[in-house]
Assembly symmetry: C2
Homo-oligomer: 276 residues x 2
């Protein structure tokens, strides 16, 4: 059985990829097996990747500003209703995608490395997707000034990247975690400046009001109030994790400090492809 994911193969701007080593449901890599007659960026045999979305309306303000991921009509690569059925993303044997939503994978990178990658060394496609997810909040005039004090909550895939990019932007980085055994990794491997156990009331108290921004990568339920307390006035709490259950929001601390909670999704294709 060929489980085909995605749109109208007759569209001339589309590219068909065959599954190679893709492992992630919505961030997949493969080899181009067919191209439509109007495809310009790709040829059969190219190593390519597809991120979280495979289509958008292409005409709304977000689409024209290279922020396709915020288009209300964007189509996720996996599990979405699309014009010819459901998208299966990395679960399908082949996928057909408009070339606009495909990025090149450099020849020198084995697909196995790109697709699998160790969590802390995710590279290329997955990194690019995460890069755009983590970097966009940092670069959107929010948190990109050198010398800022940035907190990173959670040290999973996104947290790792957040620490690395925040350090690269010149921030003083504090990793905030529930797991004491991640301290060594945070400091020695990723280069964070300090490590804060969120249950350590004394240290949390001592850090109150010191952070310019926090990138919260945690998707499990967790309290926001202590994080808001760690922010300076006018500080920004950027949510890139997606807890399923509603969180408790205490409004008064936001008011008193003119603090901000903002969500950030993946980047658009221009940001994602910036190293093509």
């Amino acid at each position: 059985m060929s489980l085909r994911s995605s749109p109208d193969e007759k569209r001339m701007g589309h590219v068909q990829l065959s599954a190679s080593t893709w492992k992630y449901r919505h961030e997949i890599v493969g080899i181009v097996t067919k191209v439509g007659s109007k495809v310009e960026k790709f040829k059969v045999g190219d190593k390519v990747g597809v991120g979280y979305i495979i289509d958008s309306c292409r005409s709304c303000q977000n689409c024209t500003e290279n922020l396709e991921s915020y288009c209300p009509q964007h189509i996720p690569t996996c599990g979405a209703k699309y014009r010819d059925g459901i998208t299966y993303g990395g679960y399908s044997d082949s996928i057909v995608v408009d070339e606009h939503f495909i990025v090149h994978i450099p020849d020198g990178l084995p697909l196995e490395v790109v697709a699998v990658g160790a969590v802390e060394a995710r590279v290329c496609l997955v990194q690019r997707m995460q890069h755009s997810e983590v970097v966009l909040p940092l670069t959107l005039k929010w948190l990109d000034k050198p010398g800022l004090h940035i907190g990173v909550v959670g040290l999973g895939g996104l947290g790792h990247m957040a620490v690395k990019f925040a350090k690269a932007f010149g921030a003083n980085v504090t990793v905030i975690s529930t797991s004491p055994n991640k301290e060594k990794e945070a400091i020695e491997h990723l280069g964070a400046d300090s490590f804060l156990i969120s249950q350590d009331q004394a240290k949390m108290q001592a850090t109150m009001g010191t952070l310019d921004g926090i990138i919260d990568t945690v998707s499990a339920d967790h309290p926001l109030l202590p994080l808001i307390g760690l922010l300076k006035s006018h500080g920004k709490l950027v949510m890139v994790g997606a807890p399923m259950k509603p969180m408790e929001l205490h409004v008064f601390p936001l008011l008193l400090g003119r603090k901000m909670i903002v969500g950030s999704f993946i980047g658009g294709m221009k940001g994602t492809s910036r190293y093509d």
Copy 2:
């Protein structure tokens, strides 16, 4: 008994006001009865007003940027521990305040009008306080571009001012309320462009994704999710009301639209005194 509120009368930069018609606990007006030897802006007999705060550290970044209200050491006019006791604000017979935290009331305005004012016609001091509270979010590069579509939740004192200022900034204004009987006032008296009952599911659905920003003035418990849904992507929900109970925050809708929730407190003295 003379119930005296506030600090060290010996400080030479301070002004003593006697209660005249003050009615609001933390936004009061009165007549200057004494001035310290270094007071420059006021003389005995002046009509003056004091807002929500009577002191701050005067040296932190917020204080030096005319945002004293965000100084972590600001002292509320009422109910706060201060150097010589508790501040009683509008409950005291007289109050002594550093001149930095006092504004002039124009001679032509009777104090009764200034202090009491009809809710929808609050003027001068109370208006100034509300003005700075409502206008700051509008002017802080968030919501001040003409042509934006701004929602105002709640039509109490702050809501009234929010509608008027948003209209003055050239916004298309939608009042969002639970009370159908406020429609006439919103449209005919305050000049709002449209009125939305928050329980009207059909109209709420039709308005989804259309607002650039919302100023939420409601301090009672209310759901945030529908308001976040009304915002366009990158839209801003500015909280100026202060619900006491934690609210439910659904994070995923924030992420998907790069939406923002931000609190806004009163303005600093420069903003508050701008019409002096």
